[in-house]
């Protein structure tokens, strides 16, 4: 087995995961705000932030769908070793990983059911840049308005229109993370 596969995980799993989770939770609770997230060194093309999110949330209980260049042997082996998460197709994935342009039709991912809206996919989207500018966000977690450099707005408006069903997005870039839950209105 390639030694690279074994490295790059959390050095101190319990503590690093606790720190990383707080960044993800703050990001999900305050859509549009950007937080630092560290501790993971995944293989290319994954960013350290995406690696940390995956290590924090994924395990043998969660299915992962890889899209585009992330669907490569290096990432598969690294995730398999560090999380044990099974890889699945788009329709049953709990987590979806990839660049925005590689995700394809968002309608192929699960959005939950009216009685269990939580049974929906979380999309971890690698963005080339992440800054507090661009689309305007309003909704729970945002005092007045927030801004975030989203790749587009229409898809997120459609997603919000399905509330309480829908997808939740975690955006990663370098060692930074932001999030956009289905509850956020985008304009």
């Amino acid at each position: 087995m390639d030694a690279d596969v074994l490295s790059g995980g959390f050095a101190n799993p319990a503590i690093d995961a606790a720190q990383a989770f707080r960044s993800v939770m703050e990001a999900m609770a305050r859509p549009g705000r950007i937080y630092d997230i560290m501790g993971a060194l995944p293989p290319a093309p994954l960013s350290p932030a995406a690696g940390a999110v995956l290590l924090t949330l994924c395990d043998p209980d969660t299915s992962v769908h890889l899209t585009g260049p992330t669907d490569c042997d290096a990432v598969r082996a690294w995730l398999a070793f560090h999380t044990g998460a099974p890889f699945v197709g788009p329709h049953h994935a709990d987590f979806v990983l990839g660049r925005w342009e590689d995700l394809g039709e968002l309608s192929q991912y699960q959005i939950g059911t009216s009685e269990y809206p939580d049974r929906s996919a979380t999309l971890i989207v690698e963005l080339p840049s992440l800054e507090a500018a661009g689309a305007t966000l309003t909704g729970p977690g945002i005092q007045t308005t927030a801004a975030l450099s989203l790749p587009e707005t229409a898809a997120f408006q459609t997603n919000h229109g399905q509330f309480p069903l829908g997808l939740d997005f975690i955006f990663t870039c370098g060692d930074q993370v932001a999030a956009l839950p289905r509850s956020t209105e985008v304009s």
């Binding site: 606790a18 999900m28 729970p140």
Partner: protein, 302 residues
């Protein structure tokens, strides 16, 4: 086995990941109860196992942790949970609201306003606001999915027809972001106005009932009411006997066997803070009395 032989914050990592995923979905769907696989904790259900599991999933070692039980830092439940996390998560603990990063609470929201840097974790006994109106989970789940909350309004209306006003005084239901009706846990309805638009993240954990739900910061949470019977936050119509506060929620304390009573702040940190600033209530002990009555009771045989 020594405490240090346990994983950080007691729970194993896979359990924490499961709870963390539930917290994220809870934040994404404010007010919706996310099922989670609640674990056995080293304390009985009903003693805050839901809150403890949420705290365990949220805490990291640099946090300062506070626990309140009905507003008090010094009751058995609060002391035990505080000590539990001192031992298993090596966190600093405090009784000061403003110094705490994570506050676990049973049935109160602190009087002092919380900030964006804080997280409030509630212990919840019955998370389902419709449970006493409809015992079947399959039915209440359907009612939430259809946004069918007529029954709750009937219940409040029956209060009015029997008592002349809405007599529900705690666990008063709120509607979150115009969608889900949520049980804010048995906080007094005095605290309801603080739920909405709070700067801190609010997480709710129900261990026995296996549910987690959440209110992100600045979320709309409106107490249900009627146009002609608007919601009213109420408290005992007295000032605090110890610190004289007129704006805090009060506990009624029986002080003798002849019907004597006093009202004191239920938030002990708020009350102590005011007394430290020199506020004195009508029934506050004098310095000499304070020396004998205000010291902490001990278990030593006298």
């Amino acid at each position: 086995m020594s405490e240090s032989a346990y994983n950080f914050a007691y729970l194993d990592e896979q359990t924490k990941r499961m709870i963390r995923r539930a917290i994220l979905k809870g934040l994404a769907i404010p007010g919706y109860q996310v099922p989670f696989a609640s674990r056995e904790m080293p304390m009985p259900y009903g003693w805050g196992t839901g809150g403890v599991q949420v705290s365990a999933a949220v805490l990291h070692p640099e946090d300062t942790f506070k626990v309140i039980d009905q507003g008090a830092d010094d009751t058995t439940n609060a002391v035990s949970i505080r000590t539990f996390f001192e031992k298993t998560a090596q966190v600093k603990t405090t009784t000061r609201t403003s110094e705490a990063r994570v506050i676990q609470t049973r049935h109160r929201i602190p009087e002092e306003g919380l900030t964006e840097d804080q997280i409030l974790v509630y212990q919840v006994p019955i998370p389902e606001p419709l449970r006493f109106l409809e015992p079947r989970e399959s039915e209440t789940r359907k009612m939430h999915s259809l946004e069918e909350y007529g029954l709750m309004h009937v219940k409040l209306y029956e209060d009015i027809s029997r008592h002349g006003h809405i007599a529900t005084s705690y666990a008063y239901p709120v509607k979150v972001e115009d969608r889900y009706v949520m049980d804010p846990s048995p906080i007094p309805k005095f605290d309801n106005p603080k739920l909405g638009d709070m700067a801190a993240i609010q997480l709710f954990g129900a261990g026995r009932e296996q549910r987690i739900y959440a209110l992100p910061p600045y979320t709309k949470a409106v107490s249900l009411d009627f146009e002609d019977h608007p919601f009213e936050a109420s408290k005992a119509d007295h000032p605090c006997g110890l610190c004289g506060a007129e704006d805090s929620y009060l506990d009624e304390v029986i002080v003798d066997d002849e019907g004597g009573r006093m009202f004191v702040c239920s938030d002990t940190d708020y009350c102590e803070g005011r007394r430290a600033k020199g506020f004195v209530g009508a029934m506050a002990a004098t310095d000499q009395m304070a020396a004998t009555t205000m010291t902490k009771p001990t278990l030593e045989v006298l």
